[in-house]
């Protein structure tokens, strides 16, 4: 029996985009027709809640619960309500949303229309990073097709429901992926995250109720509304529901991105999909879901890739795209690269992040360059403790930056110590070959 993989059914081997005609010919916009004007928004919300869909951007927050905080009807007050698609994919090692955006742009738009209908938003934005040039062009063309067909604009399919959609090309900076920073950026400001509460559901874009969801999350919506919560729950292998785009990069034979039932074992993804390690390389560890997740090790290979299981193992499933640490790559250099990334991408608003991350990067650079001192390990441990604690910083960027560091110090401590005692990187060439 072939697997039911709703998200990638229109993804072709050559990754050429599925256009409007091909999308509709393969059942596209059927969900939209079944939902808009046919189901009440409250019914849609209940289905999404029952489906146990969790946000695919990295945090894994239940989507239905997130939406349930949006004020409905008169409670929303006068003015717009907004749905924003976060297509600002920039998490190090993450390359899943690009696949959905470039190969099947209409799937995202159909999902967004159904999501916007559920929360009764009348304006939707796709916030996309500027470097995703091809995807931006495809999305703009797809939005235009939908206006022509009456799937966007006034009185969609005669239902009385109206929705406008715009594609917003961003201007860089990783922090824009944080949902309140994204809202600041969409308002034309510096992308500083905002204090919560108020939550965006109540006071988001221009002070109005706003939902921000990841690309992959939104691509699921019309499938769930059309086929039901039970269908979606049955797709998962464990307690989590649906499928997930998993990716593997690093020194594996066949790096890539695949849609699989959520809860697929890590080993199957790395060894079967990605073909195992390149010849001459051994797996020492992996970040399960992007650059701000904790290392796991070969002992964790038989775990299910789902939110709960990976969380219990001391990491996070994050974006589901794994980065492999092999035995010829320096763990200190690896973490230093990530720390320099996060230090560069700090928005600069709060002190622990603005000043703390460059300090951590400096200590790691000293160790990597052979200038490390034994007490540097204590300094790093203190930084992990203070910067890594949620609540000490304005947003989750800096605590996320501490996750690979703290777990590297736990699993690869002897590598740090060899750098310090030997006065040089034992992996040569800075760790990368």
């Amino acid at each position: 029996m072939s697997l039911d993989l709703p998200l990638t059914r229109n993804v072709r081997p050559d990754r050429s985009p599925t256009d409007f005609a091909a999308y509709e010919a393969n059942g596209g916009y059927r969900g939209l027709r079944a939902v808009v004007g046919r189901l009440a928004p409250a019914e849609c919300l209940q289905v999404i809640k029952d489906s146990n869909l969790r946000g695919r951007g990295g945090a894994g927050f239940p989507t239905g619960m997130k939406w349930s905080f949006v004020p409905m009807g008169d409670a929303a007050g006068p003015g717009h309500k907004y749905l924003i698609c976060n297509a600002d994919e920039m998490e190090p090692g993450t390359f899943k949303d690009r696949l959905l955006l470039e190969c099947d742009p209409h799937q995202l738009i159909e999902g967004m229309i159904c999501a916007a209908y559920t929360i009764q938003a009348d304006v939707a934005y796709i916030f996309i990073r500027a470097e995703y040039h091809k995807a931006t062009q495809l999305l703009r063309a797809a939005v235009a097709s939908c206006y022509e067909k009456g799937y966007l604009g006034k009185n969609i399919l005669g239902s009385g429901y109206c929705l406008d959609m715009q594609v917003h090309s961003s201007a860089g900076r990783y922090i824009c992926g944080e949902e309140t920073a994204l809202i600041s950026s969409l308002e034309g400001k510096r992308a500083n995250p905002r204090a919560k509460p108020p939550f965006p559901q109540v006071s988001g874009l221009w002070g109005r109720p706003t939902i921000v969801n990841n690309v992959e999350t939104l691509c699921n919506i019309h499938h769930i509304l059309e086929r039901g919560a039970d269908w979606f729950k049955a797709l998962g292998l464990t307690e989590d529901a649906g499928t997930k785009l998993y990716g593997v990069s690093g020194r594996v034979k066949n790096p890539g991105c695949w849609e699989l039932p959520i809860g697929t074992p890590v080993r199957q993804i790395i060894e079967e999909c990605a073909g195992g390690m390149e010849d001459g390389y051994t797996l020492r560890g992996f970040l399960p879901g992007g650059g701000s997740t904790d290392f796991l090790t070969p002992e964790h290979l038989d775990l299910a890739m789902d939110y709960g299981t990976i969380g219990k193992a001391g990491s996070r499933m994050g974006t589901g795209t794994m980065i492999i640490l092999d035995d010829k790559t320096c763990p200190v250099g690896f973490v230093k690269n990530l720390m320099e990334f996060f230090a560069r991408e700090s928005c600069g608003f709060c002190t622990p992040c603005r000043d703390g991350l460059p300090w951590s990067a400096q200590v790691l650079d000293d160790i990597e360059a052979g200038r490390g001192r034994p007490e540097d390990m204590d300094t790093l441990a203190r930084q992990v403790e203070f910067i890594g604690a949620i609540g000490n910083t304005h947003c989750a960027l800096a605590p996320g930056a501490m996750e690979p560091l703290q777990s590297a110090m736990k699993y690869f401590r002897e590598d740090f110590e060899r750098h310090i005692s030997g006065g040089a990187c034992p992996f040569c060439n800075g760790g990368a070959h």
Binding site: E89, M90, E91, P92, G93, T94, F95, D97, R98, R129, A130, E131, Y132, H133, K134, Q166, S169, S170, A171, G172, R173, Y174, S185, E187, G188, K189, R190, A191, W206, G247, V248, S249, G250, R251, P255, G256, C257, G291, T321, I323, I324, D326, T329, G333, F334, N337, L338, F341, E345, C347, N429, G430, A432, H433
Partner: protein, 163 residues
């Protein structure tokens, strides 16, 4: 030098005003306006910045705070094409430092520098979301995957740089 003219062209104003039509107040299009002017002029000079700020009814200093925040808004001149070199983790594992070194040898530029013939500027960029094809870089709007020494030689074959 059009980029030093302290007024916006009619074309720029038309494009910026089209954005303003969608938002509740003029300064909300600050980033779009910076990108529009940059698309016409290559970069955002002090003169351009002041012209945009006037058009959006905001202070030039506030706009500069926004312009300098975003790494794809250029407040200094860049070459005809910008090379965005991904140096995030998956590309680092696959040797992006070697690519940077070779670009330095071929074009005579390091990060943040522009070739003497003004053809290329080299900048680092956040993970480009093509980690299965690492190492990657962009030249202008075009993504280049699985880049190696031979690919770089071909890509910049006609550019001697100033080395």
């Amino acid at each position: 030098m059009s980029e030093l003219i302290p007024v916006l062209s009619e074309e720029e104003i038309t494009e910026i005003d089209a954005e303003i039509a969608h938002v509740p107040y003029r300064s909300a299009v600050a980033i779009d306006a910076l990108k529009i002017v940059q698309a016409h002029r290559g970069w955002v000079s002090d003169e351009s910045l002041q012209a945009i700020a006037r058009h959006l009814h905001m202070s030039a200093d506030e706009l500069d705070g926004i312009a300098t925040f975003y790494n794809l808004v250029f407040r200094r001149p860049v070459g005809e094409r910008v090379i965005l070199l991904c140096n995030s983790i998956s590309c680092w594992i696959k040797g992006c430092e070697n690519l940077q070194r070779q670009i330095g040898e071929q074009l005579g530029i390091g990060l943040g520098e522009t070739t003497a013939d003004n053809r290329y500027t080299l900048l680092p960029v956040t993970c480009l979301g093509a980690c299965d094809k690492a190492p990657v870089l962009m030249v202008g709007d075009e993504l280049h995957e699985d880049v190696d020494a031979a690919a770089l030689r071909e890509l910049f074959a006609n550019s001697g740089g100033d080395a």
